[in-house]
């Protein structure tokens, strides 16, 4: 039988001591509790339940119609021991010192769906656990947050964008749901695709064109409409030469994505912007140092984007930033996996992750331990921005509304 005896360590890592493996729900709860304790000691945050009797949140003077939301998916899954556990905190100095003290932090966000990056991101974006083939160029089956947003609020296509790392994400902007026709979702930019087209495969850009790490043996074909170079010049006001010249100064695909995001924010200032990071997923190749390098870079890029939000007049004071991984990675203790390398076992650590929210009206330095579902994000965005995610299966997260 392929399932092997469960791992018996006489000495467990300190941060896992006392955790029971027999009950996944209990393990997830304890994981959340441990995250909170780490944060409380390292970043000086307060426990959310202590604020239950505090006054209602004040969203400031920003009317709903002017509110903006940026969602960053944190790079393809990272585990606690490389991030929020004491031995991992060196890898995320920006999250720890700059962002967490400004944020409301949810320690227990559970993904009950398929742990593949495209399908999990699609689930985050629809509020429904999607079951589409992770490796095919298919749109989500349920309506996306972008479609709800544009239809209910009558927003133009320029107001909702996705910046994504791999060809496989080109269809994530709009669903195949019959209530929403073609062109009713978000525009999707694939910076690597643009750079590849701009350079025609020539020059020293290879390090920015890394493919999907989940299937390193195979690059997905491009499906759906693509955002082309001419549109980049026209919409982002970015010449091919400038794009190429700047790309030369960057070191990874996610840096390229953040560069494009800055252009988008400056030129179009979309109200709903979704950024999918992916560098961390190099972990699939089994090189721990490259995985850590990816985490450190993603940490820095998240802080950079927060600074851009503070400095861009269209965004400052009216933007809520959400940062969350799509899921975790396998634990060292699950004999069915190979530790950090993959997210295949479906164990508690690979399903349980975190989320932080920052911005006006969001309480700062507060931690909530209660379980939140990955699919709760979309209805929360709906409540925040004033649209109804009618087909989402999640529930609004009231602590930040």
């Amino acid at each position: 039988m392929t399932v092997r005896s469960s791992f018996r360590l006489t000495n467990r890592p300190d941060w896992l001591c006392g955790m029971s493996e027999s009950n996944p729900r209990e393990l997830a709860r304890q994981l959340a509790f441990t995250r909170r304790e780490f944060l409380r000691s390292a970043a000086g945050v307060a426990l959310g339940s202590a604020l239950l009797h505090a006054g209602p949140l004040v969203f400031g003077a920003t009317p709903r119609s002017k509110r903006k939301v940026i969602v960053i998916t944190f790079g393809g899954g990272a585990r606690d021991q490389e991030t929020f556990a004491p031995e991992g905190q060196d890898n995320i100095p920006h999250l720890m010192r700059e962002l967490i003290p400004r944020s409301t932090f949810f320690t227990q966000v559970v993904n009950h769906g398929i742990l593949g990056h495209y399908v999990a991101t699609a689930s985050l974006a629809t509020g429904v656990y999607e079951t589409i083939n992770n490796f095919a160029s298919l749109p989500p089956e349920s309506p996306t947050v972008f479609e709800y947003f544009r239809k209910d609020l009558k927003r133009p296509s320029s107001d909702a964008w996705v910046v994504a790392p791999s060809n496989g994400f080109n269809r994530i902007g709009e669903s195949s749901h019959r209530s929403f026709g073609p062109g009713s979702g978000a525009r999707v930019i694939l910076p690597k695709y643009l750079l590849s087209a701009a350079t025609s495969g020539r020059g020293d850009y290879g390090h920015l064109l890394r493919d999907s790490y989940e299937t390193p043996l195979y690059a997905p074909e491009l499906g759906g409409n693509t955002f082309e170079l001419e549109q980049m010049e026209m919409i982002l006001k970015l010449s091919v030469d400038d794009f190429k010249a700047h790309a030369r100064t960057l070191s990874s695909p996610d840096e390229l994505s953040v560069y494009i995001v800055r252009q988008l924010m400056r030129q179009l200032a979309p109200s709903l912007l979704w950024v999918t990071m992916h560098d961390i997923d190099i972990a699939h190749a089994g090189a721990y140092s490259l995985y850590i390098e990816g985490i450190r870079r993603t940490d820095r890029l998240c802080a950079e984007l927060w600074k851009v939000i503070q400095s861009e007049p269209e965004y400052t004071g009216r933007t809520t930033l959400f940062i969350l991984p799509d899921f975790g990675r396998d634990s060292d203790e699950d004999a069915g996996g190979n530790g950090f390398q993959h997210h295949r076992t479906g164990d508690v650590i690979s399903r349980t992750t975190w989320m932080m929210a920052l911005g006006p009206g969001i309480r700062e330095g507060v931690v909530y331990d209660r379980p939140v579902d990955s699919i709760d994000l979309v209805p929360t965005l709906g409540s925040m921005m004033g649209f109804t995610a009618s087909l989402s299966r999640g529930k609004p997260i009231t602590e930040i509304l």
Binding site: M1, L115, F135, L217, A219, G286
Partner: protein
């Protein structure tokens, strides 16, 4: 087809010993649920290429299944029988291609949200099996050795942080003849406890001279096979319509002879080595991933008494397309990144050794090659201690054993 309809002729394509085994247990197979049986057949069909310990374990598992009464069977497999399978899975030729069935079953379990239920069922089965068939302890305590950091003089970060709490850290090791002392230890153990595949030496570069009683796998020796596999991958991914599932299936079907492998080590080891490259992730491109995976698989499958695992510098990261393309260019190495990879790899080696019977008496040593740092784990050594006393590896070895 259902298991109860199994007929002897359906196993005619199995290798000889696997066929004999299958026919011997045909009556048992007919009583097992379809959600379980192909996983078992996946082991049976490989029987001719299994290590002695694996054969014994599988035979014991089968004998146990045969001994179960109808009532016991219902208890053991109730959760498996509750897994709902699709019509296409039921029609699949799971007798001839059990591995492909399991791959499709896995996709089915994810998309129908039954993965957690299956995982629970599988863990429950493993638990019952462990209670019914007590694993045999090794004839002498296992001894795992990891040598890391070849080509690096100074570690950028403290080493062995994950291993230190479990053993004694030595900060003033005299490195003279260190590698030779370790090889001598392996040779001595191989001489004292001779058995096929009981003593392993895995090298991320070129193998050093070693005694004939030691099973050796090295990355350099696999160069021609790796090149053949990369060429095969490159050719296949250029074909239209080739997707990740099809490619994985094709890789799984590759045999040593398909890749021009003509080693003198015999079909069992050839088969093992091919699987490292066709089933491992990153093993085709990074020597550190290859070594870690080879050690993991050797421990899991052959359950050796001794393993000496020496990591070597891997190639520097490049775009995945370039890494996967056959190239005659000189390889640029990343020794420092490889040291970090190997540090984690050493920890995983220890974890994987601790999963085996007799773990309470197991011994482990990790050494920074040609440098002064080592960590030793043994029941006789205090945990979480540091020794600054000058000592050579022979001295540490005498303390451990």
């Amino acid at each position: 087809m259902r298991p109860e309809d199994l007929k002897p002729e359906q196993f005619s394509a199995y290798p000889p010993e696997a066929r004999r085994l299958a026919l011997d247990y045909l009556g048992t197979f007919r009583r097992l649920p379809l959600s379980f049986l192909p996983n078992l057949l996946r082991q049976v069909i490989e029987f001719d290429f299994k290590f002695p310990v694996e054969r014994k374990t599988l035979e014991k598992e089968l004998a146990n299944l045969r001994s179960l009464s109808q009532h016991d069977l219902q208890l053991w497999f109730r959760e498996f029988t509750e897994i709902k399978l699709s019509e296409s899975l039921e029609k699949f030729d799971w007798v001839s291609a059990p591995a492909q069935f399991v791959e499709q079953l896995s996709a089915h379990l994810w998309t129908t949200h039954q993965m957690d239920a299956f995982r629970h069922a599988a863990l429950g089965y493993a638990e019952k099996l462990r209670a019914a068939v007590t694993p045999e302890p090794p004839i002498t305590p296992r001894f795992g050795i990891a040598v890391i950091g070849q080509g690096v003089d100074l570690a950028p970060e403290p080493l062995f942080r994950k291993l230190r709490p479990h053993g004694a850290f030595f900060s003033a090791v005299n490195p003279e003849n260190g590698l030779q002392h370790l090889l001598d230890t392996v040779a001595a153990r191989a001489g004292s406890y001779p058995a096929p595949y009981a003593h392993w030496y895995i090298d991320g570069g070129e193998e050093l001279p070693h005694p004939s009683g030691v099973t050796c796998v090295s990355y350099t020796a696999m160069d021609p096979v790796r090149a053949a596999i990369l060429a095969r991958i490159h050719a296949e991914t250029q074909k239209k319509g080739m997707g990740p599932e099809a490619l994985r299936t094709l890789m799984a079907q590759l045999r040593p002879v398909d890749l021009g492998m003509a080693s003198a080590s015999g079909p069992v080891l050839d088969h093992f080595q091919i699987k490292l490259l066709t089933e491992g992730s990153g093993t085709q491109i990074f020597s550190t991933s290859f070594v870690q995976w080879a050690a993991r698989e050797a421990l899991r499958r052959a359950q050796p008494l001794t393993s000496l695992v020496r990591f070597a510098p891997r190639q520097r990261q490049k775009p995945m397309n370039e890494l996967l393309s056959p190239s005659s260019e000189r390889v640029e190495l990343d020794p420092v990144g490889s040291l970090m990879d190997a540090d984690m790899g050493a920890y995983y080696n220890w974890i994987n050794q601790q999963r085996l019977p007799g773990s309470e008496k197991s011994l482990f040593l990790a050494w920074f090659e040609n440098q002064k740092e080592a960590v030793a784990i043994s029941p006789t050594l205090p945990h979480g201690t540091v020794s600054a006393e000058t000592i050579d590896l022979r001295g540490i070895l005498s303390w451990i054993t």
